[in-house]
Symmetry: C2
Subunit: 507 residues, 2 copies
């Protein structure tokens, strides 16, 4: 038995070797008081006596007692030594829960509020642990093309000896160097000039849209969004207290006429003209000009989400709305997370110039700044030309993957899924073949595919209230060339072997 | 004149040397169409003819024409060559704004919505550029104590060759390594065990509170918050659709009895027991146990904000509520931004165990994940003992600065401001001396101080609707020892020379 393992000490204290002695005394006395083994008002032995009994220094005992006095468990009065506090609330002075009871707390579902239960009911069941799916996640860039060693070096250089204004401030608008690099990059690659003061760094496209709505719109204003579109966009707009009005797109993209018929007083249009999400439609020039004309005429605003604008494999990118805008009504939105790597979580918003001054002043009170940690390194990455080089490399890579995916689907999924090439983007839309389509449920089919190890995203949740069209989104950008065909054959096997799970019988 | 500067080309195109030729043709033709110099329906000369006139390769002209066809400015019909599109909206076909007009757009204040104008009216005027204030910002740690070179090395190691699951995922709960490091650190330093699954990494204390409210409470539920407290807390709770009820604290801190009298059906209490913000009050043990008893009895929740819990200069930290909690009702909140450096923007929330499963499933749809970029490096920083070492160093540093500040205020501001030492924290509260207090307006006085180059935060805005108490918060942690006394004398000069600006005459 070690020198410090003693039994039968006063007050039931047992000191173990290892760990600080005063901490052990403090913890055990506190437990004894809370468990009522030491009654309220009880006077404790003198510190000298306790130290003798415990065979430790008197200072050790005093340290523990001082802490318990400071915490209110013990009280001290001149001439009467130290006693257990008399005014501890009765109902707390009961034995602590046993480990078994603690485990019960941990596993009992608490009475959750209705709104959380409603959310739970909408969530898919937790995915069983196992092999991660091999393909086709959307929004994922290639896993190996990004130059992480260079990125790590830029981070190291940025943080080795940062200026305190960088390390110590929140920068609601983002790192000044990054704002300047984005402005200059847009001038070169997207053909419009903007000052860096108009650039706000955000942590996502939805945050960009919500921020614009918060500054430019009145609470309750209508906002046109594309249908189908991002599943979360309506919720982000609701958080800015404006009302999303989904406008069905057609083969030419978003139609201002259709939108006017649905919500004539809308004050903002959220559109993705270069490559609509999820369908990939390109907004025609006529439609672009009609939308700009609406904005100029009504002093409305346009949020131009340049989704996938960087990835075009045939033809050149069309001029963005912002480059055609003559009256300062267009906010331009971009994101780096899908171009570089998702954990980066940096996007940006180019404000209409007339909103810059007001936004600068109100931003700190309406928005959480984007994380600053990677912004300086990203500024260098862009300014030194690495972004342009990375986009050139991945454009070739993704164009090849898209071709491989189209060929594999046509070869292995004929009669099940129809697919068509797209002039741009990072995913394709596959639709059930007409023979196969009746009763097709894309959400259930995606679950069957996931169970077989292939991740496909159902199309119908991109529609709001209306019953959406059925299909899959197949992200190919992040899937190595060699994994595409095996994943497609696995998808075929999953779809053919489990039809009863996702095809409802004809009525 | 260079070989490529030619005049009198067809269609008004003038090619300049430098810059790609097909881009110049494309831009100038587009402008000519939009400015109606080329009328809708007009047939263009053949590409061969244009190439001859411009003395460039025919392929160059074709590239430009193809782009304009793809964009919809030009149309092509078999046998009839290329024409300007006939269906461009009339109202867009006007000359573009001149530069002067563009500048006018930039400077004209747009018609902002009422809610943005209301925000603007509440914001202080932009601070005039000049010397940054020398002291006393709140929430700022020391500028030089943090080991940035080590931090940069950890970042570099983390990102040199990251596992793709780290770089490619959003991690709604945070980096697994950081969650484990936080759980282990809390066990050692704050005396309670928690599994890493209960730890959620967030980007701020307000986000932590909002997240808890969103999962655990029904929309419209009452939430007790401390009065005075964080200015933004009520707004964060409102964003989670619950109602903040400010409960005035007294010398013992938050009172459950007072809170019950104000809002008996509250479902959550947000408290800072270790060092109340902004007053520094320590919640007594009796009050802690009474609050825990309320939570157990009513199945209510407690959000324990351990603000400044790491910085105690006398006595040892009291046991947090979470360590006393026997029924799993306490969520524990901490932050690294004030301990290390503000740009880090990483905080955490330890969930009550019974909420872990539900939160894991609903989190991705209700919350933006905290930035991942620094989380791996922070995990290493904590696990390797650097956090504990940094806290030991800065604790000594800050304790010294607090003493210096108290001495300087007593020496130079006697009769103007009263100050008392605090057993912990990173700021002190200074109140107007009784002789000086009548008519004192802390917001106006802080503005006068800032104009003189000293930053002090007014106390009264920490109160909600009720007229708050007057005073200043003086952050000392981030102010080098040698700057404290000069800043205090500068503050004295500002306060004595501008009394008319912030003391209203007696009625």
């Amino acid at each position: 038995m070690g020198r410090r393992a003693r039994k039968a000490a006063p007050l039931g204290i047992v000191l173990q070797s290892g760990g600080s002695l005063h901490r052990q005394i403090w913890q055990q006395l506190r437990a004894a008081i809370l468990e009522r083994r030491l009654a309220p008002g009880l006077r404790l032995p003198s510190s000298r006596l306790m130290a003798d009994e415990l065979a430790c220094a008197r200072g050790t005992v005093l340290t523990a007692l001082d802490q318990l006095i400071a915490e209110g468990y013990l009280v001290t009065r001149a001439g009467s030594g130290v006693s257990v506090a008399a005014d501890l609330p009765d109902e707390m002075l009961v034995p602590p829960r046993s480990d078994a009871l603690r485990a019960e707390i941990a596993t009992t579902e608490p009475i959750l509020p209705r709104r959380t239960r409603a959310l739970l009911a909408r969530e898919p069941s937790p995915v069983p642990a196992g092999e991660p799916p091999i393909a086709f996640p959307i929004g994922q860039p290639d896993r190996t093309a990004f130059p992480f060693p260079l990125w790590a070096k830029l981070l190291e250089q940025e943080w080795r000896k940062p200026a305190w204004p960088v390390a110590g401030a929140a920068y609601p608008f983002g790192h000044p160097g990054l704002r300047a690099a984005i402005a200059s990059y847009l001038g070169e690659s997207r053909g419009f000039a903007c000052g860096s003061r108009a650039v706000v760094v955000t942590s996502g496209v939805r945050q960009s849209v919500a921020l614009l709505a918060r500054v430019a719109l009145e609470a309750g204003d209508d906002v046109w969004i594309e249908e189908p579109g991002y599943p979360g966009m309506a919720a982000s707009l609701a958080a800015a207290q404006v009302c999303a009005v989904p406008v069905p797109i057609d083969a030419s993209g978003f139609s201002t006429d259709a939108a006017m018929a649905m919500a004539p007083n809308a004050r903002l249009a959220v559109v993705a003209p270069s490559h609509q999400f999820p369908l990939g439609t390109i907004l025609t020039l006529q439609r672009r000009l009609a939308l700009l004309s609406w904005a100029e005429r009504t002093q409305g605003w346009i949020a131009e989400d340049d989704f996938d604008g960087e990835y075009r494999y045939s033809g050149r990118p069309l001029a963005p709305l912002r480059a055609l805008d003559r009256s300062g009504r267009v906010a331009y939105l971009g994101s780096f997370s899908k171009l570089l790597f998702p954990a980066l979580r940096l996007s940006f918003l180019v404000l209409p110039v007339s909103l810059v001054d007001a936004t600068e002043r109100v931003l700190p009170s309406i928005s959480t700044p984007a994380p600053l940690l990677g912004q300086g390194a990203l500024a260098r990455f862009i300014a030194d030309g690495h972004l342009a080089a990375h986009l050139r490399r991945t454009r070739l890579l993704y164009a090849g993957r898209q071709q491989t995916l189209v060929a594999a689907v046509e070869r292995h999924l004929a009669g099940l899924l129809d697919i068509a090439p797209d002039s741009g983007g990072m995913h394709l839309v596959a639709r059930p073949h007409p023979d196969f389509a009746p009763g097709f449920d894309d959400v259930a089919a995606a679950a069957a595919a996931r169970a077989a190890g292939v991740e496909v995203s159902p199309l119908s949740p991109c529609y709001g209230a209306v019953p959406g069209r059925q299909g899959f989104l197949l992200g190919y950008a992040g899937v190595p060339e060699s994994e595409i065909e095996p994943a497609v054959t696995r998808l075929r096997n999953a779809l053919t072997s489990s039809k009863h799970e996702y095809i409802s019988p004809s009525p």
